[in-house]
């Protein structure tokens, strides 16, 4: 299990992470969302022992990463930013990691095949595309067949097939009981991949829950279409706390807030107003994310 407890990280006067707490549990994919500069990467790097916390803790199976005896078999990580010697081949990069981690050399070719880089393993990394580098990072993360995966923007540079492969791969990893913590800006992709979402902004937790909890947690307006939209608007406006107004596009539609679907339907029936369409759209993860982090992007 990956656990962050009251984690604070300051860089000089800048507070990158501010009292953040969360847990990532085995068998689930936890998505880690936040605008640029929200503190995602700092949190993940602290969890991996690369950044020292100012206060609080970040642990893996109850221990700081730096105290793990065999870390490659416990946590596999993909980090943002350069992490390869450009003159070294992909295969040799993995050979070095395998040698340092005491892993059999046969794992190198297994992983290259898994990430579909076996044809490019003997090429120098400087000739790799961004997507190939991401796949190589993933191969490195998986070398030790770890119990947990910490992935910072793993979909960066992947083509649609690669993103689909990654989604299925992460789901498979979780279904095998591994803990998966993944940050990403590809919100639509996250929505299809994760079991639970963690949203941070300005280093603080602003929301955590399952996708259903989050997407229903933010009240969405009801949309209703009627040939007598103006009469329906007046009838709804007469109810306490209900706000109904036509959108700019018109078309007989009304956008209703402060009412339930039942309220709108009943009001229409009581007033003999025909209704052609009535629904409350489910909020997308992107909408939820934008509402939760409104005004904070790059605002550090």
């Amino acid at each position: 299990m990956l656990e962050v407890q009251d984690l604070t990280k300051r860089f000089g006067a800048n507070v990158a992470v501010d009292g953040l707490s969360f847990k990532a549990t085995p068998g689930r994919v936890l998505g880690f969302l936040g605008p640029n500069g929200a503190g995602k990467t700092t949190t993940l790097r602290t969890l991996l022992g690369l950044t020292l916390p100012t206060s609080g803790s970040a642990t893996v199976d109850g221990r700081p990463y730096r105290e793990l005896e065999d870390p490659v078999r416990v946590v596999g990580a993909v980090l943002e930013g350069p992490q390869f010697h450009p003159g070294r081949t992909g295969r040799n990069h993995l050979r070095v990691l395998a040698a340092a981690g005491g892993l059999p050399a046969s794992r190198v070719d297994e992983m290259l095949r898994l990430v579909e880089l076996n044809g490019a393993g003997n090429r120098r990394v400087k000739g790799y595309s961004l997507g190939m580098r991401q796949r190589l990072s993933l191969a490195g993360a998986l070398l030790g067949d770890p119990r947990a995966l910490v992935l910072d923007e793993p979909a960066n540079g992947l083509d649609p097939q690669g993103i689909r492969w990654l989604r299925e791969f992460l789901r498979a990893q979780a279904s095998e009981g591994r803990t998966v913590l993944v940050s990403s800006h590809v919100l639509a992709e996250m929505a299809q991949t994760v079991d639970e979402v963690l949203v941070i902004s300005r280093g603080r937790l602003v929301a955590q829950g399952t996708l259903d909890e989050l997407t229903h947690g933010v009240e969405a307006p009801i949309w209703v279409r009627s040939p007598e939209a103006e009469r329906l608007r007046a009838a709804l406006a007469a109810r306490e706390g209900v706000d109904a107004k036509p959108p700019e596009t018109g078309g007989g539609w009304l956008e209703v807030r402060g009412a339930t679907l039942e309220d709108v339907g009943t009001t229409a029936a009581e007033n003999g107003i025909p209704v052609f369409e009535l629904y409350r759209p489910r909020q997308s993860l992107e909408q939820v994310f934008l509402e939760l982090t409104a005004g904070t992007e790059a605002g550090r």
């Binding site: 730096r66 992490q83 010697h85 081949t89 050979r95 040698a99 340092a100």
Partner: protein, 243 residues
Amino acid sequence: MIRLVGAELLKLRTTRTFWALAGSAVGLVLVIVVLTLAIDDQLNTQRDVRDLLSVAGLSGLLTLVLGVVVGAGEYRHGTIASTLLVTPNRLRAVAAQVIACFLGGLAIASAAVALELIIGLPWLSSKDVLMPSAGDLAGDLLGGILYAGLAAALGTALGALLRNQVAAVVSILVLIFVLEPTLNALVGGVAPFTLTGLGAAMSGASGDDNSDLLSPGVAALIWACYASLLAVFAAIRTAHRDI
């Protein structure tokens, strides 16, 4: 630790930097030996021969640069993150890198020595010069090899400490070619303890004429202390540094 050193040696072997610097070191020694044997008619005494064959110690300067490039290169290329994810104990990570570069330096100088012996000994025999004793020659050559290894180790520690490749290379070159000569000129008795003085003592490059030099063993010990101190500083700094 053996596993980590093995991984670091693999890192060395799988980049062109190592092979380029190794080739440069061996090539430099080869050129000097061949040119000296071909041109120099004053090569007569045992001292002359020892001075000539001790040029393998010149590879120490290149292995010093190799170490700096390797130590700071981890930060330049971002590979330090991968290294520390596999080896979170930063003292062990730095130590493995220093030891690997020490071994790499030994290997480069050994190749240079082997080549100069293969080419130089038959040539010297044909010139009918007075050869030094096998003991003196072996001492010079082994000292030169040890110097190259220790130079690489010190360079690696310095690179890991400073992190910036260019700054680290410039720093070590300024130290050797500017600060040390200045210090020697201003302060008496310090020369044997400078990197230049220690290197000369180990490799026998300045011969017996310079009585100020320390014995090769003491020089190696002092250099090893310098390298160890730098490595400890580097490890402590790395341990408290955000990557």
